[in-house]
Homo-oligomer: 146 residues x 2
DNA sequence: CAATATCACGTGCATATACACGCATATAAA
DNA sequence: TTTATATGCGTGTATATGCACGTGATATTG
C-alpha cells in the first residue's frame, strides 16, 4: 500500500481495502443484530437518536457523516416499523426525528447483541490494534474530508 | 472503542467507524475517477480482471471479497459499456469475464487518476499510518471472516 | 414590502450490497 | 444408467449510498 504501482492497483487501493472491510464487518454485525430486527445502519441511527434526542434531518446526517438524501431513505423502514416518528420543527422546513418508546425498546434489546459482536471483533484483533486502527481511521476521515 | 459502553454505542461501533470511512473514501475516489467514467468499485473490478485475466464469476467474487450476486449486478454497467465481455466457460455453468480492449484502455486512462487520489490520501495521513492501518484492516478482515 | 438569496428537504436515477430462493449443469452414489 | 448431491449462476426483494435537480419556506437586500 505504501508504494503505489499502477500495475497493482488491485491490491493497494486504500478505498477498496476499507470498503472490503466494511462489507465484512457489516455482514458480521447485521447477522448479530438480526434477532432484534435491525441492520447495523439502523442501529447506528437509533443510537444517535438516543444520544442527541430530537434532531433535524440535516444535523443527524452530519453527525453520521451520511448523505442527507440517503438518511431520508434509511429512515423509511424505521418509521414504517414505528421505531421513530418524524415531526415538523419550529422552522417548518425542518423535520425533527424522534425516537419512539418502541424504538427505545428495540434499541435496548439490540445493545447486548451489538456488544457481543463488538467484543468478539475486538478480542480477535486486540485492543491495541483496535485503538491504532481507530486513530488511523480518524486520520483517514480527516484526510478524506479535505 | 476499547471499552464498550452500552450508552455510547454511537461513538464506538467498529462497524460504523469503518463504514463511515468507506463512505468518505468512496466519495473521494469516485470524484477522482469521474473523468474516466468509472466508480471505484468498477475500477477495482477492471484492475482485478487485468491481473487475473479471464476468470469466473464466483472466483472473481472471492478475490474481491464481494457477494457473488452483487458482482453479477456490478458487472452489468461494465458489460453495457463494452468494458468487459462475458462468455461461457468449458463448464457450461460457468461464465467467464473478459476484459475487452476498450476496458483495458479505460483502465489505463483511470490509473493515473486513481494514483493521484491515492497519493493525496497517503500523503495526508502518512505512509506509516497507512501501513499500520493496512495491517489493522487485514487483522480485522481475518477476525470478521471467522 | 418586493426581489433575491439561502436553507431544509424530497425525488428520480444509478450503483452497491446481501439474503433467500430457484434453475440448470455437472458429478457422485446406487 | 438412474438417482442424489453439489456446484455455478441469476432474480426478487430490501436496504445503502450519492448526485443532480426541483420545491417550498425562511432570511436578506433593495
Amino acid at each position: 500500500m505504501s508504494t503505489p504501482d499502477p500495475h497493482n492497483s488491485y491490491d493497494i487501493c486504500a478505498c477498496a481495502q476499507v470498503r472490503k472491510t466494511a462489507r465484512l464487518l457489516t455482514q458480521r454485525y447485521d447477522a448479530a443484530l438480526r434477532p432484534a430486527g435491525l441492520k447495523v445502519m439502523q442501529f447506528s441511527i437509533l443510537s444517535a437518536l438516543a444520544k442527541f434526542l430530537d434532531i433535524s434531518m440535516t444535523t443527524l446526517a452530519e453527525r453520521l457523516v451520511l448523505d442527507r438524501t440517503g438518511l431520508t431513505r434509511n429512515l423509511k423502514p424505521l418509521e414504517r416499523d414505528g421505531l421513530i416518528a418524524i415531526r415538523p420543527g419550529k422552522d417548518s422546513r425542518q423535520r425533527i426525528i424522534h425516537l419512539t418508546d418502541l424504538g427505545r425498546e428495540v434499541l435496548k434489546q439490540a445493545v447486548p447483541l451489538w456488544q457481543d459482536v463488538q467484543h468478539q471483533i475486538i478480542d480477535e484483533i486486540g485492543e491495541t490494534q483496535i485503538d491504532i486502527l481507530h486513530s488511523g481511521l480518524a486520520n483517514l476521515n480527516h484526510a478524506a474530508q479535505i
